[in-house]
Symmetry: C2
Subunit: 369 residues, 2 copies
């Protein structure tokens, strides 16, 4: 992996990653001239004991680009700068201009609830220079690079005392609110372990203390034995619709052996995880012959400097569709009670995805490079 660290004119960081040597790269551009003005703050919820972040500067988005403007394209005309420079890079990571969490945050208002600075980091992860591509359309070596990039970000951010958890995710599709279709994801680095991973961690710790094995490792061996919901099974990685799916086409992707974070993956594990991931993504897009929207989130161990044998790196996909033309809305029982209600069985949805044939080794064409 090749890496190049740059700083934008407005002070934000840009890191470029490539499989091969990048050669010359011009200066880091930015569509914004000024440094960031205001910083986010946190407020404590007294009935849920959780933090909410408020970034009112997000409303300051006075920058109104024309509809065809793509800030994730490379800058071809310096008079019209984008977020990214021309050059031989594969994946780029830069600081979100409108962060919900920021390392620069150092104060919070006095309010009737507890408050704190919105410390953390929000990064944009550009998957490729090809705006017509998608994560699943990238060659396996490119997906492997992305797994290395997530490891690098986890290592860099996890080394900071202020950061306790790193969550890479991708929101894909207009159905989940995405307006910018250039293939990209995001990464949030949190000052404490957020509620969902905290709960998962607590459950995994209790399970490990009782059984001496990981909860997900045991679940994976049961999914493997059953086989009924498995979409990919390789030497080191697996993908399946979990028996406890909360979304109709929910899929989990994981290394078979427990690995605490992206940083702990071996080359062989990473390569097979890329194969599992590409299989799922191609099945999703192949099922209805159209781009399949989803939220993809990667859970890893808290970054608190102690070993986490109970943790098990994995992705969870939450697609918004329940059938080809019907969305699953999260409503009363899901949002208010946290009790999910499903009108489809995971076994049936797994069969839909199993039936989609894909060839992850077919040569992919990469454009714009």
């Amino acid at each position: 992996m090749h890496r190049l660290e740059l700083t934008k004119p407005d002070g934000r960081a840009l890191t470029l990653y490539a499989r091969e040597a990048m050669g010359d790269i011009g200066p880091a551009p930015s569509p914004f001239a000024e440094p960031l003005g205001r910083f986010p703050h946190l407020r404590h919820h007294p009935l849920r004991d959780e933090w909410i972040t408020y970034a009112a500067h997000r409303q300051d988005r006075t920058f109104l680009p024309p509809p065809e403007y793509n800030p994730l394209a490379v800058t071809v005309d310096p008079a019209n700068p984008t977020e990214l420079p021309v050059g031989n890079w594969d994946v780029a990571v830069f600081d979100n201009r409108f962060p919900s969490l920021s390392l620069g945050a150092n104060e919070a208002p006095e309010l009737i609830v507890d408050t704190a600075p919105g410390t953390g980091k929000c990064e944009v992860v550009v998957f490729t220079q090809d705006r017509e591509a998608s994560l699943g359309a990238l060659p396996l070596s490119h997906i492997e690079l992305l797994l290395q990039v997530w490891a690098d970000r986890t290592a860099q951010l996890g080394a900071l005392d202020a950061i306790q958890y790193v969550l890479p995710f991708e929101n894909r599709g207009a159905e989940v609110g995405v307006t910018l279709h250039h293939p990209h994801g995001q990464l949030y680095a949190y000052p404490t372990v957020p509620p969902v991973p905290a709960r998962m961690h607590q459950v995994e710790q209790a399970y490990y203390a009782r059984h001496g094995r990981g909860a997900l490792a045991d679940h994976i061996s049961r999914e493997r034995s059953s086989g009924e919901r498995v979409l990919y099974y390789g030497e080191h990685a697996i993908a399946f619709v979990p028996a406890c799916a909360r979304y109709p086409y929910e899929v989990w992707v994981a290394p078979i052996e427990p690995v605490a974070t992206f940083c702990d993956l071996t080359d062989a594990q990473r390569a097979d995880l890329a194969r599992a991931l590409k299989t799922v993504l191609m099945k999703y897009d192949g099922m209805w012959d159209r781009p399949f929207p989803y939220l993809m989130a990667w859970y890893q161990a808290p970054l608190d400097g102690v070993p986490h044998p109970e943790s098990h790196l994995h992705a969870e996909f939450y697609p918004p569709y329940r059938t080809r033309d019907k969305l699953k809305y999260l409503a009363g029982t899901e949002l208010a009670a946290g009790w999910f209600a499903m009108d489809a069985l995971p076994e049936d949805k797994a069969r839909d995805l199993q039936a989609v044939e894909v060839d992850i080794d077919a040569p992919a064409t990469e454009k714009n490079r």
Copy 2:
């Protein structure tokens, strides 16, 4: 409150409620001739330690009504039955034909995760006979009746050993997935306390043990002292945008003094709670002069037979809009991490709602009666 219990031809219960004596009511109709076939089951999520309910029979909905068919209208032609009879009733409650939880559930499949019967109850609560009305458009006496109906359902269902929690809620608007626009809500009765109220209950218990007061009662007195986000303040009830709002137009409505469940409300508290609720609903609809979509959920104490001085009945509204024409999508950080990110301050959104003038005592016209 007047109440009449009936049974539909397919075995489902129907209870009618009215402010005045109902007189003669015909037999309970049903669009369905056959009793329910299959029952839901629960599966346990090994990484979140929570239950998910699967009701695959929901796919069996072979009944395909014409677009103008309203199953919540009264039955005028016995050859085309709806869910409700003609008569002088104000609010009706009946068993959902496609329940996610059912008292008839008594078995679960053997799977690689723990399973259990999907015990519980899903009820439809029809707010009025007037399909053109809305909850906020109903007269105060009618809203008071609804609060009594929720109390009656809580008492009836809470008396069952199988039920530990009752959550009344309303999903309103196409934006939250509602296709049937006759004013109605739902009520889920759960076999265990679901994750969100369980968390709330745990936090409230810890707070009460430490302070000898309720967490929400203390929050309410701080909101009242500040006044900055208050939308209604009466002798017994309050409505406000909470300082820790997770949705841009989130509002809480509560009795000022802690009350564990709907059953514990005094007449005076109920009357003022109806005023607070109607104020919020009229402000919502008045803000942009159009029906304002939301999820409204009513939290109360677990129904486990012990006193809950730490619990405090209240409604939370989660509207999907962040501005007049922009939806707030729950995505990566909210759904995957449980860490909400807001780009608007609750104080600003409260001002928007405070600016909407409403007259909750103006005479309302009730149609179709």
